[in-house]
């Protein structure tokens, strides 16, 4: 007993200062990096991408972690309790026009998109998925509780994990998209509250809803995944990335002028840094087009210039390091201004290597056709692309009408996975691996028939139409310049979104337009009309017959009359006139 007590005391004494030291070391286990990328687009608009990355060197899955510092507790507990390996949630308003704006750094489909990889230890993945969508709907004030089996699919080839993965059994993956979801300030508010500094300091002070939603494209996302802790990659860290991409329109926000500044975009400037951030930078894309000297001038002068190979192309960035003391020397606020040195020629618009569009063909309310056009504008390289289409059950696809035509000839996909829909239970899932020849347009068409829903299944505004979620294109696009292997910690955040395997190509995920389809809609006032008409007919016709048949007639004694009548009769008797 005494020995045990002495041993315990010794242990405590040893652990005391050790824990104190370890405690202070453990405190610095999580780090926040924030970054803003301003890229002017060929059409005169400007895209601003915010990224806030919290990296936590702890294993959320094992052990009872109870001390949360920078990593938000709501998400940490979600990952631990439900056995989530990777979580990607995006809420988007608008559409990224790849044809005119170029490849996006990270695109999301219109509405809400949620895809999750679960740990192999999860036994009932569907139950965990339902719980997860309910909890996220409470956190982000979005109607994610509408995610159920009618809009969830299990892709087999797309959406491979973006983080560390031991094996990829696709039965642990779930993907759902809600194209009707609206994104507004009530979704931005909880998203901002997850940031360590909130919206009070650092780059997040620029996030004001009135300017962010007055834009052509607004997408906010949350990505949680396990990453390598260091170059040797023997331990796992958890990374939370919050990204927000917004495209300010040249005409409405820019008032027709191509010169942009932080104040013009956000009606605010940067005043100080978030004290919890270990790195806080603003990158401005000043890459010269067509290998000429620079067209774009930035002021105030940047702290440094960074060159990187992003999406297979060499790009130059002006960097403003908010943590460097020289930046806020002259003025308390930083207002980055972009000015064009000479007017831009509109014919110089570069065309991206891969872009796609989708539309509905046909006429009437019975049949239709979904057409997808995929363009490969690379002059001599062909590459494969995976197309994932999720179509709701009420558009009945006819797979025998699926045709893929490239350059006038039929193009047979190397891999097709088709899962037909079950009415009211499961949507259609069509995944194809298509080889795109160089400099070609591929047209994929499939015909469908519209179903008539039960009258209680129509939403309150059925004449608005029904949405079909965007289809997803995943491709390894050949790079113009070979990419070198880079250190994730040193390079900017926007270059380390997708893990790259080799430098000759880069991975890109594009989304097509969502479709709005009208279903045959009944006239909902008809039940009321029918009831009125039927009741009137019944009341008038049958009622009259019933009265005639069942009414009995009997003689009625004339009443003596009231007081007034008797008095009147008395007076009439006197007058000699007949009585009443």
């Amino acid at each position: 007993g005494g020995m045990a007590a002495a041993a315990l005391l010794l242990l405590l004494v040893a652990a005391g200062p050790g824990a104190g030291r370890a405690g202070s070391e453990r405190e610095r286990l999580d780090a926040l990096r924030e970054e803003l990328l301003l890229s002017p687009l060929p059409t005169g608009d400007v895209a601003a991408t915010f990224q806030f990355r919290t990296r936590w060197d702890a294993d959320l899955q094992r052990g009872a972690v109870s001390h949360y510092r920078l990593f938000p507790k709501a998400l940490g507990r979600l990952v631990a309790a439900l056995g989530v390996r990777e979580l990607h949630l995006a809420l988007t308003q608008g559409f990224w026009r790849t044809r005119y704006w170029g490849q996006p750094p990270l695109q999301a489909p219109a509405g809400a998109e949620l895809w999750v990889w679960f740990q192999p230890t999860v036994t009932d993945v569907d139950k965990a998925w339902k719980e997860l969508s309910n909890i996220l709907s409470g956190i982000f004030c979005a109607s994610l509780n509408f995610i159920d089996s009618t809009n969830t699919v299990i892709p087999t080839a797309s959406f491979k994990p973006l983080g560390l993965a031991n094996g990829t059994d696709h039965h642990l993956l779930r993907y759902a998209v809600l194209p009707r979801e609206v994104v507004c300030t009530e979704n931005l508010t909880p998203w901002k509250k997850l940031l360590p500094c909130g919206s009070k300091a650092g780059l997040a002070v620029l996030l004001k809803a009135e300017r962010l939603f007055h834009s052509s494209y607004h997408s906010q996302a949350v990505h949680i995944r396990p990453v390598c802790r260091d170059a040797s990659c023997l331990a796992v860290s958890w990374e939370l990335r919050q990204t927000l991409t917004v495209v300010f329109d040249f005409f409405s926000s820019g008032q027709g002028k191509k010169d942009w500044s932080l104040f013009k975009m956000f009606s605010r400037t940067l005043t100080d840094t978030c004290p919890l951030a270990s790195q806080s930078k603003v990158y401005v894309d000043i890459s010269p087009k067509n290998k000429e000297k620079e067209l774009l001038e930035v002021s105030p002068p940047p702290t440094s210039v960074h060159e990187a190979i992003v999406q297979g192309d060499k790009k130059t960035y002006a960097v403003y390091d908010l943590l460097s003391p020289s930046l806020f020397n002259t003025s308390r606020s930083l207002n980055v201004q972009l000015k064009w040195k000479r007017p831009q020629d509109s014919s110089e618009m570069p065309i991206p290597t891969l872009h796609a569009q989708r539309y509905v063909g046909g006429y009437g309310l019975q049949t239709g056709e979904i057409c997808t056009l995929i363009y490969n504008t690379h002059p001599y390289r062909a590459f494969p692309v995976i197309l994932l289409e999720t179509v709701p059950w009420y558009l009945r696809l006819y797979v025998h009408t699926l045709t893929i035509i490239t350059k006038g000839k039929e193009n047979k996909p190397s891999y097709i996975h088709y899962q037909p829909a079950q009415d009211r239970r499961r949507p259609h899932l069509l995944e194809m691996l298509i080889q795109l020849p160089a400099n070609s347009v591929t047209k994929i068409t499939i015909q469908f028939e519209r179903a008539l829903l039960k009258w209680t299944e129509y939403p309150p505004d059925p004449n608005h139409g029904f949405y079909v979620g965007s289809s997803v294109l995943s491709a390894l696009v050949p790079s113009v310049t070979a990419m070198k292997d880079m250190d994730v910690e040193q390079s900017p955040l926007f270059t380390s979104l997708f893990p790259s395997s080799d430098g000759s190509s880069y991975f890109v995920r594009l989304y097509t337009e969502p479709l709005l389809v009208n279903l045959p809609t009944p006239d909902f006032s008809m039940p009321y009309n029918v009831i009125c008409l039927t009741c009137t007919v019944v009341a008038v016709c049958y009622g009259s017959f019933y009265n005639l048949l069942t009414r009995t007639f009997h003689v009625e004694e004339p009443s003596r009359g009231g007081l007034a009548k008797r008095l009147a009769n008395v007076i009439r008797k006197f007058r000699g006139v007949p009585l009443l």
């Binding site: 560390l164 031991n166 909902f524």
Partner: protein
């Protein structure tokens, strides 16, 4: 000694006088303290909740969303936190494509007051605002997977404010142009709440046409109700904004908002003042109220009993030290085992792996021998029946 004695006697005399004074007004002072203590506990509630519902869809019903958001704004300003407010908006006006100023909802023309603000949390939006969800929120009979922000977690010491607005008629309120809730259903829901002890006192405000019909059927105790118009009258809207193109607010809620802007968390305004808001000259309809089910006199009920939030502060004089020395706190952190070989990222587009992925064969094909045997049997039976001489006709 001569100098000390008068000083001591003076002090003694002063103490005697003081004691006498205390003796005579002792009960008075004690009575005053008791009065103060009683006032502190007068209302009988310990927490406040608010359920704010807008039931109308479509752009031309902008004013109903503005109504609800202005009450939300007042209630938040007076202290009720977002976790205690269940806000249900049937349609999105702020980020509607027809809104010329996105992320704003205005209540005054010339865009003076943006009631949407920058810090808003809507719990039930768009298609989720249905009669079923509304009744489930009130009665607490909610599926277990519902997140906390969507629940009304009130207890028997909660004062609840329920505000509803939309299009209504005599005895019903329309939800999203597709269903209705009747006054009988609402009264029964409140009775369920009373029987489950889900509220201490309830204030029900409704701003629709013929709103008074909705509170006619209440029969549970401790409910006070206000409506913007009597049966047979229409509630009218206040003013349109020509830039936005729709009416911005309803008259009754407009004047209620003006009234509430004067209230601050410590104000002593009572319910009788709220009953006088919007007389017939301003509102065109006649606002009504019902207090017969309420146990306290409306004169004694403060506006902040329902619109504000109770904060009972307890002052303590002992100090609590927040020490950094939390030994053993982080040492509970389990030691991690490092992997033996480096982990790697998955390949994003493993073409070879995808092509050779074989789908699991789900359908069952009968074996070939079975079909052959079956056909042999059929042919044998045929020729046994009709004779072998028919074979040349078949072939």
């Amino acid at each position: 000694m001569a100098a000390a004695v008068p000083g001591v006697s003076w002090a003694r005399g002063a103490v005697a006088v003081l004691l006498l004074l205390l003796g005579c007004c002792g009960p008075e002072l004690a009575g005053g303290l008791q009065d103060q203590a009683e006032q502190f506990f007068r209302s009988g509630h310990t927490n406040n909740w608010a359920v704010l519902v807008c039931t109308s869809r479509f752009w031309f019903n902008y004013r109903h969303v503005a109504n609800t958001l202005s009450v939300y704004r007042s209630v938040k300003r007076l202290g009720i936190p977002d976790s205690h407010i269940v806000l249900m908006l049937a349609d999105d006006m702020a980020c509607n494509p027809r809104n010329p100023k996105p992320a704003t909802v205005f209540s005054h023309k010339n865009m003076e007051l943006n009631v949407y603000g920058d810090d808003v949390e809507v719990d039930y939006r768009s298609y989720e605002v249905t009669v079923e969800n509304f009744l489930r929120v009130l009665t607490g009979r909610i599926p277990p997977s519902t997140p906390r922000s969507k629940r009304l977690l009130s207890d028997d010491r909660s004062n609840i404010l329920i505000y509803m607005t939309g299009h209504g008629g005599n005895g019903f309120l329309k939800f999203q142009d597709s269903e209705e809730i009747t006054n009988v259903e609402l009264a029964d829901a409140f009775e369920q709440m009373w029987q489950k002890r889900r509220y201490n006192e309830l204030l029900f405000i409704i701003d629709t046409c013929q709103g008074a019909s909705m509170y006619e059927r209440f029969y549970s105790p401790n409910i006070m109700a206000l409506a913007s118009s009597q049966v047979g009258e229409d509630s009218l809207s206040h003013q349109p904004d020509l830039a936005i193109g729709v009416h911005l607010m309803d008259r009754y809620t407009f004047y209620v908002l003006e009234f509430l802007e004067e209230i601050h968390p410590a104000s002593q305004t009572n319910m009788n003042d709220l009953f006088q808001v919007c007389p017939k000259s301003l509102c065109v309809s006649t606002p009504g109220h019902r207090t017969d089910l309420f146990q306290r006199d409306p004169q004694n009920v403060l506006i902040t009993d329902f619109f504000g939030s109770v904060r009972k502060v307890e002052i303590t004089t002992e100090t609590v030290s927040l020490d950094r020395e939390v030994a053993g706190f982080e040492s509970k952190f389990p030691e991690e085992e490092l992997a033996t070989e480096p982990l790697k990222y998955a390949e994003q587009l493993p073409v070879a792996q995808i092509i050779h992925q074989k789908p699991k064969p789900k359908d069952w094909h009968p074996p070939g021998g079975f079909i052959l045997g079956l056909w042999a049997l059929i042919i044998m039976v045929f020729f046994k029946t009709y004779g072998i001489k028919h074979m040349k006709h078949v072939f």
